[in-house]
Symmetry: C2
Subunit: 483 residues, 2 copies
């Protein structure tokens, strides 16, 4: 028996929340006289009233949440937010078709940043602010999910590396999680505000600064400019964005330690060290290659390279330069980077480095095990032993991810995409990155794709964002069997 | 301390063996007066004399073989066979450059079947016979490795599914393995002879029949015709080839049971049932798609579809039709099929179905485990429990395979290949299939690739054929540390 009462309660709160946030676009609408006042007001009110009504409907049940209710809250909550999040686009007529609006909203809420808008700068300012806000809301949602919900559901196998301590005991679970979530939100809000100020100092106006601050900290990548970050070809804008994208891809626990001055704890994170190393190494290699293949200056080659590496690894997806114009090798490299992801416990999407680390360390140990079959050779990460149970779960995640990539590619190819575009679109959707390769490269957008392809890519974005298992488990018989 | 005596002994025998087999081309050379007599004779004698000399050199050591000697025998033995196997091409001038001859020989010995020859029909008949023979020798080598060597080395994690019984006790290991290997060789030789007769009846001359019989049973795919199997556009040729390709991809233990009339044992093999099911399902889907996308008759659409599915899944690589001309979806599908492979314990290359099965079954169970974290939910295959140790090993294999695919793709892209060709060439080399997609599709060949790319693809073929670990383990520090 599924207990629907808590599910309805959570959805009601979520709807009222996003309804309220839609209204935040109204000041911009009025200031810029962009004519989207009524669309925003109506969308906000519809969401708030629907949420309120759902709250008031007396649904029988208890407040007791078990695993199955947990999964349904995540899946249905996300669905409700996306459904109502489409309203500003539809009511304003900015995106008149439902599939297009669905794609744009899913792309926002999942912090993917793939867009069907062909002329972003002509979109009314209030709607455009809502678009940026969908990413920021999605990023906040992911922090809650990673810290509070996924560990309870046993999703992802990365719970060990997200929490600060080995694991709370069940009786003091709630206060601790609430405390942690609150702290992380403070960091999220604080960094967003800080970036906004930095961008104001760099010369952006308030509207541009707040929009880009919101979508940077969410690793979202929506821009208010058609050329994305290439519009701001200035070191004083792009270097801060690089730094904050990097922060946004860092485990929030590590940031917390950093803010507290506990740099020893920061350095003890195997994932953070790997993150720094990978970004550093790739920056050197790609800068050399870009300087060699183009006639850019060293500074510009370095800035473009570092920007695109950090943008893709953190799955932000801002575009400062077209990496598919840098030659075959770098196109291939950036395609592979679509599968990386930054740190667990951040707003970054994709596979995430911790899973790659577990896999690589264990693969290496596997050779030792082959040579010494009787020895017990455990896998350690962050100084802790990774149990066989978690190891299996992480490895299965990696393979499921690949399978979904393969199935997704076949489906979108069957729907008409040629090879490079098909794998590029699938990889970037599943990884919540934004730009891909082929016909959905950094300087293209997703408007030209057919509605069925947009729908498939939207599903892939949701699967990727919710760590695959959360959605897939709903389609297994085990879920629906009572007990 | 590595004991080099047994290593040298095995290599000596291998060299004398392949030297002797080079001479088998001489009758064809004389009969067709193709002018390659001296090239074959000299190649054969050089190999035999080198092998004989190595046998006579007194190398200190015992006959004792431990794991490390086992790995070195496999790697160095393969290397020696390839090095001397190049001689007929080089001495005859058919392939004058060393990298080209290396590629063709590796492609033969690994049963890949990718070719640098642009006009196969102009190659002297004796050399061409040697080319087919390299695949047949490679296929025979793989049977020995899978049955006798890999289980001892703990490679691949598929030992459970290859041997007939749960596992021999160590004291009676040798007689049992020798017995099994002998029986499988008899099947291999017998089926090759049978196919040769069938092709003779179908109307091929003896030379064509024996060549195609050799390369079919090895799942090799070298043809004596420029158009490969599309040259023989006849049901009475192509259906038997399909049937024998399917057999060649079947676990030899299953074939043995079939020959003994023990059909219950055949049916108990989860992998064989999956093999039949996948081929059957894909045949229906692809036939419908091909009939829809082309103006072929139903029979021809079915024959071409079934032929190409079986050819790619078994990693034979014969071409009866250009699957990249069947539209985006089927191009993508056939690209994915490059990663499948048929049954373990056959001459088929690639990942092989048993590993996919282990992964899929376990992934499915993983959802059950998430919902019931306290329950012990074991994975069973062929009625046996798959231990955590073997499961980890198989999953690591799958991921290592993907990593090698990714690294290979980046390297060949860096060497100049565009995206589709890069991933196509890497996938088909690693999977020992033959044809790929893009610039190395079914109607293309590998002659146009630069020498560095040919070298990288050759390494990938060897890695794939030797189940990754066998070669990779040599590059870990664990291998070279004494004890
Ligand atoms: K993104
Ligand atoms: K082959």
């Amino acid at each position: 028996m599924i207990n629907f009462r808590p599910i309805a309660r959570v959805i009601a709160v979520l709807l009222m929340l996003i309804g309220g946030m839609m209204l935040f676009g109204i000041p911009f609408s009025l200031y810029y006289e962009s004519g989207d006042f009524w669309a925003l007001l109506n969308s906000g009110l519809i969401s708030i009233i629907t949420g309120g009504a759902l709250w008031l409907i007396p649904i029988p049940g208890t407040t007791n949440i078990k695993k199955r209710e947990g999964y349904l809250i995540v899946a249905l909550g996300w669905l409700a937010m996306v459904t109502f999040g489409m309203l500003p686009y539809l009511l304003s007529g900015v995106i008149p078709d439902v599939i297009g609006a669905f794609f744009e909203t899913v792309s926002g809420m999942t912090t993917t940043g793939a867009s069907v808008l062909t002329d972003i700068e002509s979109v009314p300012k209030g709607i455009l602010f809502w678009r940026s806000l969908t990413q920021w809301i999605g990023g906040m949602g992911i922090i809650v999910l990673t810290v509070a919900i996924f560990p309870l559901l046993g999703i992802g196998g990365i719970e060990l590396f997200v929490a600060e301590a080995p694991g709370p005991t069940s009786d003091k679970l709630h206060p601790r999680i609430r405390e942690t979530a609150k702290r992380l939100w403070q960091i999220y809000v604080g960094l967003t505000g800080l970036l906004c100020i930095v961008l104001l100092i760099a010369g952006l106006d308030f509207y541009e600064a707040i929009n880009h601050a919101l979508t940077t900290m969410a690793t979202g990548g929506f821009s208010t400019k058609n050329a994305s970050m290439a519009y701001y070809d200035l070191p004083q804008v792009q270097y801060p964005i690089i730094f904050f994208m990097f922060l946004a891809g860092t485990n929030y626990t590590v940031i917390y330690f950093g803010l507290k001055g506990k740099f020893k704890n920061v350095w003890q994170s195997d994932e953070f060290r790997a993150y720094l190393t990978i970004v550093g190494l790739l920056a050197v290699i790609v800068t050399l290659a870009v300087h060699n293949n183009t006639d850019l200056s060293w500074e510009k080659a370095f800035r473009d390279s570092l920007f695109q590496i950090v943008s893709i690894i953190t799955t932000t997806g801002f575009v400062s330069a077209d990496y598919t114009s840098w030659g075959n090798a770098l196109t291939m490299l950036f395609f592979v980077l679509l599968f990386l992801g930054a740190c667990a416990g951040s707003t970054s999407g994709g596979i995430k480095l911790i899973r790659h680390l577990v896999f690589f360390k264990n693969s290496f140990l596997e050779f030792k095990r082959i040579l010494h079959p009787r020895a017990v050779i455990p896998l350690k990460l962050n100084g802790q032993v990774v149990t066989g149970r978690i190891l299996t779960h992480i490895i299965i995640f990696l393979l499921l991810y690949m399978i979904l990539f393969v199935i997704g590619s076949i489906v979108v190819a069957a729907l008409g995409l040629e090879f490079t575009t098909a794998v590029g679109a699938t990889a970037t959707a599943l990884g919540n990155v934004g730009p891909g390769i082929g016909g959905v490269g950094p300087v293209d957008n997703f408007a030209w794709l057919s509605p069925p392809i947009k729908f498939v890519l939207s599903i892939l974005m949701l699967l990727g964002r919710l760590e695959l298992f959360t959605i897939l488990v709903l389609f297994t018989p085990y879920f629906w069997k009572s007990n």
